[in-house]
């Protein structure tokens, strides 16, 4: 791995070196470069297509799996299918980062299709970071898809971020929740220049007392354009809350389309959206503390997307 590749690895996975202990699978320019498994977590390459199956055994607790993907050549269009089979009574952290560094004019990208099959009474924290690096000419495209089947009384906390450098991106998250299941999604997006991002959340609240909370915070700068679409369907006594908070600056555009469908008398669904530029008062406050306008805006945005 060269310096740039190491830098991306660090950015997307908070890992500093390969090889590492613990369960992991590192993919560089479409090839496997390192894999580790543990007693509770096994990783196997798929036979029929690109990608891996990650098996997490019943009762596995306090373990983590890192599966970073690095694309450092221009013109690489990587598409992988990663399936996570999480059995019952599990408590793990999954870190799946994807970094694309490329220069030059041909487009590079990565489409990761991640599917979570989560059993009963399990708790998974899933952290996903998308990073684009390189000069402005190059196109970097990332189209992640996340499919979630969440079993009874299980919890999935998904923290996903894409903070700049990705030219074009369609992000899709689909989830179906069984009885008592809880899905918490925290998304942070930053776009600039001419970037285009569309992010979609389709959540089916099938089971009684299932619950979803989506908080999406986005900043659109330059002439970038973001579209947020959510579709939450409550088919049982359930709770759903979607919050879309956007900051626009320069000529950035954000659109937010909420759809909430209550198909059960005890479904309780809420959608909140607020889009606007940074509050004048917030900038003034930080200026009274000695920051100039640009520094103030930067601090506000860093905090907002954290």
């Amino acid at each position: 791995m060269n310096e740039i590749e190491k830098k991306i690895l660090e950015e997307v996975s908070s890992l500093h070196a390969v090889p590492m202990s613990g369960a992991h699978n590192i993919r560089l320019n479409g090839k496997l470069v390192s894999r580790g498994v543990t007693e509770g977590i096994n990783i196997l390459s798929k036979k029929d297509k690109d990608g891996i199956d990650v098996f997490i055994k019943r009762g596995t607790k306090n373990e983590s799996v890192h599966i970073p993907v690095i694309v450092s050549f221009s013109g690489v269009k990587d598409k992988v299918y990663n399936d996570f089979y999480v059995e019952d009574d599990v408590d793990v952290l999954i870190v799946a980062g994807c970094g694309v560094n490329c220069n030059g004019s041909s487009a590079s990208g990565h489409n990761g299709i991640h599917t979570f099959h989560i059993g009963k009474n399990s708790k998974v924290r899933y952290v996903e970071k998308h990073v684009g690096l390189g000069d402005n000419e190059a196109k970097r495209e990332l189209d992640p898809v996340t499919d979630i089947i969440l079993g009874e009384n299980s919890v999935l906390i998904m923290e996903t971020s894409q903070l700049g450098g990705v030219t074009k991106s369609i992000r899709t998250t689909n989830a179906t929740l069984a009885r008592g299941a809880k899905l918490i999604i925290k998304e942070s997006l930053l776009t600039s220049e001419q970037d285009i991002v569309k992010t979609m959340f389709n959540v089916n609240l099938e089971g009684e007392n299932s619950k979803v909370e989506v908080v999406s915070r986005s900043v659109a700068r330059g002439k970038s354009c973001q579209e947020f679409v959510s579709n939450i369907i409550g088919k049982n006594k359930c709770f759903g809350h979607v919050e879309c908070d956007g900051i626009i600056s320069e000529k950035g555009i954000i659109s937010s389309t909420p759809k909430i469908v209550a198909k059960h008398p005890d479904a309780m669904l809420v959608h909140e959206a607020a889009i606007g530029k940074i509050g004048e008062g917030q900038i003034e406050k930080l200026m009274t503390l000695g920051l100039d306008k640009e520094e103030a805006e930067r601090e506000i945005i860093i905090g907002f997307l954290r």
Binding site: R217, D245, G279, G281, Q282, E284, K285, L286, M287, T288, L289, G290, L291, D292, K293, E299, I300, I302, G303, F304, L305, R306
Partner: protein, 236 residues
Amino acid sequence: MLELQNVCYEIVVNNKKKKILDDISFKVDDKQLVVLTGPNGSGKSTLSKIIMGILVPSSGKILYNGKDITRLSITERAKLGLSFAFQQPVTFKGLKVKDLIDIASKKKNSVINACDYLSRVGLCAREYIDRDLDSKLSGGELKRIELALILAKNGELNICDEPEAGIDLWSFDALIKLFKEEDKTFLVVSHQRRLIEIASKVILLSRGKIEAEGSYEDLKEKLSSQICDRLEEGNE
């Protein structure tokens, strides 16, 4: 330390000029505690914001340590040593109390250090340091944090707009010490008798004009209708 010369502030409402501040001149000397008081709408917040640079006067001059700062930005004034506590504290999404303390003091504080500022304004620091500075904090908590930021910034001239608002009167008594004991200059907008009594000077504003200026003794009669007496009543 601070001198205002003939400061006026006009706005245009429905095509008509409205004078919010009319020919304001006064001085604040080094290490003084000056209290600015007056009825609602008399122009106290407007005047404070003009001194900090948040609003620009229509005419008149502001001198700070002899230097004309009338055209300086908020940032430039902050760097010269002015600090400001808002009447309505500003909230953020995602910035933590500790982040603001670090920004104000221009360094990464240790938790102990950061907690010290909060303790001095009567907050049980550990509970607050990691909280977002957002509207989930109560009004009184926000006002105290606003003061803690003034302490963290360690400016020479501290302008505080109604620091007592939302703070229970018993603990305000303890806060008053801050304005007197700190080795700094304070210009405080207030209706609190306790604060007015210990002020080096009181300025009474009425309909955008200075109606009276002097010590508490000098202004006692004029002020009697102005000040908030509830503290004494509360203690009885």
